[in-house]
Symmetry: C2
Subunit: 206 residues, 2 copies
Amino acid sequence: MTETLEAAAPLAIDDAAADRLFRTARSVTEWTDAEVTDAHLRAAWDLAKFGPTAMNTLPLRFVVVRSDEAKARLLAHLPDGNRPKVESAPATLVLAHDPEFHEHLPRLFPVYPGIKEQLAPAPDVRDGMARTNALIQAGYLIVALRSVGLSVRPMNGMDFDGVDAEFFADSGYKSFMMIAAGVTAGEGTGHPRLPRLTLDEVAQAL
Amino acid sequence: MTETLEAAAPLAIDDAAADRLFRTARSVTEWTDAEVTDAHLRAAWDLAKFGPTAMNTLPLRFVVVRSDEAKARLLAHLPDGNRPKVESAPATLVLAHDPEFHEHLPRLFPVYPGIKEQLAPAPDVRDGMARTNALIQAGYLIVALRSVGLSVRPMNGMDFDGVDAEFFADSGYKSFMMIAAGVTAGEGTGHPRLPRLTLDEVAQAL
C-alpha cells in the first residue's frame, strides 16, 4: 500500500472472536460426534441474514443434509474426492440462489415500488443478481456458522445440475456450493494452513 | 425448519462482536471526518485473507479510492444515485477478481502440482472461478472491515467496463462491486432497517 511499514490498526472485536472467525479457523474434515442442531442453524441465520445484499434481495437458499437418506441423495452427485468429506460431516448445507427472489421484494425492499414487476420479464438479469448476491451471502454464512461454535468446510466440487434436479426441481433454485459443518476437537484438520496473499499483493491505494 | 419452536443456540462470540459484525451493523451513508487509514486496511485484510476459497485461489483484488483525483476518476463511471455516496465516503474500495489468479497457485496451493499449467489454457474457467470466489471473499471483507471498527456501504451500481478501463487496464482485473468505508457516529443512516427473510423461508432440513 505505502512504502512505510505501518502497523495494523487495533481490532474492534476481541481476539477470541477474531481467532474463531478468521485467524485460527480452518477448513476442517475431522468432526466430533456433536450434532448440528436446528438451534445452531437458527442462531447462525439470525446473524447472516443481516449481511447486506443489493436491494435487500437475500437470494441465498439452502437445504440442510443431515439424515442418512438425504446424505445418500447428495453423495450420488459428488465427485469421489468430496464424498468422504460429506459422508463424515454431521451436516452439509447445499447452498443455492433463488432466481425468483423478486417475488419477495415488495416486502423486502418496499422503498422501490414496482421493482418486482420490473424484474419479472428479465430472468437472466435475475439469475445473475441472485448468484452474485447469494455468493456474498455465502461469505456471511461461513462467518456466522463459525460464530455459533461450528467449524466448516466449504466445497464446490459437485454436479450442480444433478443436485438441482435432486433437491431443487420444484423451487427452481440453482446450487453453487456446499458447506460441511460440525463441531471439531482442536483444529479439525491434519494439514498446515496454506499461505495467503499479502495486502500489498491484492490492493493498491490511490 | 421444524414444527417446534426451538430457541437459537448460544453464540460462541460475545454480543458486542455479534452486534458490530451483523446485528446492529447497517449499510451507511453518514460518515465522520475520520480517515480510513492503511492500518485499517492492513488489519482488515489480515482477517479477511484467512476466509476459505476454492483451492486457496484468493482471487479478490481491490483499489482503495481516497484521494480527490482517484475519486474523480471513479465518479465518472457511476450512476447518479451512487455518486453522492462515493463523494461523501472517506474511502471506497473497488473490488475486482483476477482471472490470472492461477499464476499464484504454485505458492498458494502447492498440494496440487501442475494446477497452474492445467488452468492456463482455460481463461473462461478461470474467469468464472475467480468471480465466484472473489464474491465469497467480498462477504469476508465486509465482515473484516467491520471488525476493525469501520462501517461500510456495499454498492454494485457502476459501469463495470468503464471502471475496468480506468483502474484495471494493465492488470486485467474485472470489477464487480464497491464498498464505501469509514467511521460513523451512531447508526450512520437515517433509514430504518429493512426486513429479512426467516430461516424457514430460506432453508429446508432433510
